[in-house]
Amino acid sequence: MAVGVLPSVPEEQMTWRARAYLVIAAARHILVGAACIVLVADFDGDSFQVIRAVLPVWVWGVAFLVGGAHLTYAAIRGSEGHARVALSLSAISTSVWAAGFLLAYQEGGAVSPIGVIFATALTAKDLVICRQPMRSPFEPIVREYDEPKGR
């Protein structure tokens, strides 16, 4: 979605920092998705009432699993475009859950705003990672200085 409107950047090897963040985000999505599918009964709390009202929990689970798979693929392949799309989708889905937690808290179902805080923080982290370069153009130069080739 976002790739089409973005200018092209020559592909280079993705930094390990970006790969690590993608792997962590993928693990989060896969675990949440698996919990939504396997432990559907655990999402009966009032904190999820708005989320459940919009889409069934298992659908959320499938969405999170797909997002986690996409993040894993982007991390393994080192594709910046896939990583940006996957992180953008992760931010969108997490922000939707943050809005659901917020509405549940305002309606009085949720007893604490912790879910809102955590989900919003995760959304902000995804956006920050999208804002920062997925790869550093200076890395080849730094690697050349660290491990000179042919000298």
């Binding site: 979605m1 976002a2 409107v5 973005l6 200018p7 950047v9 020559p10 708005v50 989320i51 009202a53 919009v54 940006r84 992180l87 953008s88 931010a91 969108i92 889905s93 922000s95 939707v96 943050a98 809005a99 659901g100 509405l103 959304t123 995804d126 956006l127 920050v128 999208c130 804002r131 920062q132 370069p133 997925m134 790869r135 550093s136 153009p137 200076f138 080849p140 130069i141």
Partner: protein, 161 residues
């Protein structure tokens, strides 16, 4: 047909977040392009620096070679100057020796000339004397006896006085 307001709110959150992701992704790509340009500039500068370094190294080696040649040339020049000075000294000694010998010869020549002149003078004088003697009339003793006319003059001979 009624729409759940919660779904609307969640949809609005999704749209806002999607717009935010597009915005941050565009900014990120722009920064990445700037960094790529800076990295390319760094690589170009690095390449130029490498070329300059190689040129400086070549210049340094050429300078070292020139300095070595200059030192060798100076050494040869000093050696040639020393040889020239040695030859000059030798020539001075030879000149002084020749000059003294010339002076000696000149002295000897002068002595010889003086001697020769004396001899010549003597010879000339002798020759002149001989000529004079030959030109002289015969000695009275060689002449036949005659009546000395000088009897009259004997009175005036002072030796007789």
């Amino acid at each position: 047909m009624s729409v759940d307001p919660s779904a609307l709110l969640l949809g609005a959150a999704a749209v806002i977040t999607a717009i935010g992701t597009i915005y941050v992704n565009r900014n990120s790509r722009r920064d990445q392009h700037r960094q790529a340009a800076a990295a390319a500039q760094v690589q170009r500068d690095q390449h130029q620096l490498e070329e300059t370094k190689q040129a400086l190294e070549a210049l340094g080696s050429a300078l070292t070679e020139t300095r070595t040649d200059l030192h060798e040339e100076r050494r040869l020049r000093r050696q040639a100057e020393a040889e020239l000075e040695e030859k000059k000294t030798l020539h001075r000694h030879m000149y002084a020796a020749q000059e003294s010998r010339c002076l000696e010869y000149a002295g000897q020549l002068t002595d010889t000339v003086l001697t020769l002149r004396g001899v010549v003078v003597d010879e000339i004088a002798r020759a002149a004397a001989d000529s004079a003697l030959r030109a002289l009339p015969s000695h009275p003793h060689d002449l036949p006896p005659a009546t000395p006319p000088a009897l009259e003059g004997e009175k005036d001979d002072p030796a007789d006085r």
